[in-house]
């Protein structure tokens, strides 16, 4: 174990201190199940991590995790079954509650599927507004993911407070656009509702974009270059690219392992094929890699939002019109994936000629990414398990549906 040394003596400025030198990154302990009695411990379903109700059934050798069985279902709200009883437009309110920290991407997945069933396409201005809302939602979700990850590794609440305060400005924008802070139900087939954009949205969104790089830098100074954080995150919970692909991981969990797969580039929807942004990857596959991917994606989302603000001045003012009846023909089915902050969010719908879907299925990235947790956490201690779990950035509403 390495002693922590204060650099620069008392009162040295952390920002100008040289970057910390990483020693050999920590490795998982070799697991010897026959060595001592294994203890089975229930971890959850209620525990102070703010990810919600998750139950891990751990098999421990002392403090080292030998096996980790994830038990879900404590938040299973039967959304797929309820969607069959709601209409295509009314059921969108259900999908808001899935990944509730970034509900705009959920709305987008649902509404794109409905539009594929109806074979309609919204006008360009609506597409630009949707992309802008998606990316602001992504920034908000990544702030929560980062702030709460700081809490998971022991920061207590500083990063959470910062993240939630910075997120409030984005929620103000959403409040102006659609009247809600968190569960929006904003998109409609071919348009958004309300169609009139708020009066001073540009000023507010530009203010957010101006402050975002400084905030990302602040988070870097606070966590990324912090020796304690690096001890907790570098080399911990490594997921190789092959394992990640085989386990169907998507999102920062996959991109942190070096695979440059982003649905916005692979199957562009809305206006993403006309926008200029980078797909962020890191090669290490550890917790630090996933965390850095999220912070860099915040900057890329900011880039997209600025392009959207400029585009809104150029495109025609047509905001589209909702069809009078949303009753897709029987037998039509559609599966659409969008890139949510946690991974590829997919919505499958099948129509039967009535106003209600015959079947709605949600591909939730957190549910599938969580399948990688037992592999990633074998041999690490319980405290590291929390760090690994936080770095995957799970949302239990999405896992359990």
């Amino acid at each position: 174990m390495r002693l922590l040394r204060f650099r620069g003596g008392g009162g040295g400025d952390v920002a100008t201190a040289p970057a910390p030198i990483d020693d050999e990154p920590r490795r998982p302990a070799p697991v010897q199940p026959g060595k001592s009695a294994l203890v089975k411990v229930n971890f959850g379903p209620h525990h102070p991590s703010t990810h919600g109700v998750l139950h891990l059934f751990l098999t421990l050798d002392g403090e080292i995790v030998v096996d980790c069985e994830v038990v879900f279902g404590y938040l299973h709200r039967a959304i797929e079954k309820l969607a069959e009883q709601r209409t295509y437009v009314g059921g969108q309110a259900l999908c808001d509650r899935l990944d509730y920290v970034s509900a705009m991407t959920n709305n987008h997945a649902w509404m794109l599927t409905v539009e594929r069933l109806l074979d309609i396409e919204p006008p360009p201005r609506v597409q630009v507004v949707r992309v802008m809302m998606d990316e602001l939602s992504r920034i908000a979700s990544h702030w929560i993911g980062t702030g709460v990850y700081g809490q998971d590794v022991g920061v207590l609440v500083t990063s959470v407070m910062w993240a939630f305060n910075w997120r409030e400005e984005i929620l103000d924008v959403f409040d102006d656009f659609c009247g809600q802070r968190m569960t929006y139900n904003y998109y409609r087939p071919g348009t958004v509702y309300p169609q009139r954009l708020p009066d001073d949205y540009e000023r507010k969104i530009r203010a957010i974009c101006d402050r975002t790089p400084g905030r990302v830098e602040q988070m870097h100074r606070f966590l990324t270059r912090n020796q304690i954080f690096r001890l907790r995150a570098v080399g911990v919970g490594v997921l190789s690219a092959d394992d990640a692909l085989s386990l169907s991981c998507t999102g920062p969990t996959l991109r942190g392992s070096g695979v440059a797969y982003d649905v916005r580039r692979a199957r562009p929807y809305a206006i993403y094929s006309d926008l200029d942004f980078d797909v962020i990857t890191r090669d290490a596959g550890d917790c630090m890699a996933r965390y850095e991917v999220r912070l860099d994606e915040i900057l890329q989302s900011r880039r997209i939002v600025l392009q959207c603000l400029d585009l809104l001045k150029e495109v025609s003012p047509d905001m589209g019109r909702e069809p009078k009846q949303v009753k897709p023909a029987a037998g039509r089915e559609a599966y659409v994936e969008v890139e949510g902050p946690k991974g590829a969010v997919g919505c499958y719908m099948k129509a039967n000629g009535t106003p209600n879907p015959e079947r709605m299925k949600w591909r939730s990235p957190s549910f599938i990414n969580l399948g990688a947790l037992p592999l990633m956490s074998r041999g690490w201690k319980i405290a590291d398990l929390i760090s690994i779990f936080g770095s995957i950035d799970i949302n239990m509403g999405e896992v359990d549906r």
């Binding site: 379903p45 919600g52 404590y74 709200r77 079954k81 959470v160």
Partner: protein, 188 residues
């Protein structure tokens, strides 16, 4: 005696004979009924047991964060352990699989304990009424003091619910022993 159903009523105590306090000490000595003092201490240091189930919990954390700042009500210490908490704010949909854990945690809280049902799902099942796995309202398994409708309720609404709970606690008689409030969660 003020009407207990009136919103905004804070005075709990019956009339009692005034105690003569010397003029020079009148700013240093406070005379109050023990009921009022205990209630004042309890209501201004309600430590929430953040029982975050789903979406409403994000608004609960927003309430504890910088803009809405529930710390000025004494409620900023969100205790993860039920033994250290006063008020259980159930935030999110309650499913049948989770219900036994909720009841068990409720019983682990030490009295006086209060329950705030935050969000439509805890009040009545909310948007998920009719689902095969959802308990429609937590009041079917634990007693509730304050209901906060909304989906999710704004942090302001949640702060208002804490204020309502404070008014409810202020009407209590912990020392003089008579139970005046109706919910079963308040100890005499």
């Amino acid at each position: 005696m003020s009407d207990p159903t009136e919103v905004g009523t804070d005075s709990p105590a019956p009339a009692r004979p005034p105690v003569a306090v010397p003029e020079e000490l009148s700013r240093n000595i406070l005379i109050a009924p023990l009921d009022a003092l205990v209630n004042w201490a309890r209501k201004n240091s309600l430590w929430p047991f953040g029982f975050g189930l789903s979406c409403c919990f994000i608004e609960f954390i927003s309430m504890a964060a910088g803009r809405f700042d529930v710390a000025r009500f004494g409620s900023e210490v969100i205790r993860p352990s039920p033994r250290q908490a006063d008020v259980m704010i159930v935030a999110g949909t309650l499913t049948k699989k989770m219900a036994p854990a909720v009841v068990r945690l409720y019983h682990q809280m030490a009295e006086p304990r209060y329950v705030i049902a935050q969000g439509n799902c805890t009040v009545s099942g909310g948007i998920f009424t009719g689902a095969y796995s959802v308990v429609e309202g937590i009041d079917s398994i634990i007693p509730v003091d304050v209901y906060v409708p909304g989906c999710p309720p704004r942090p302001d609404a949640l702060i208002f619910s804490i204020m309502q709970l404070q008014r409810k606690i202020a009407r209590d008689r912990p020392v003089s022993g008579r139970r005046r409030t109706k919910a079963g969660a308040v100890a005499g």
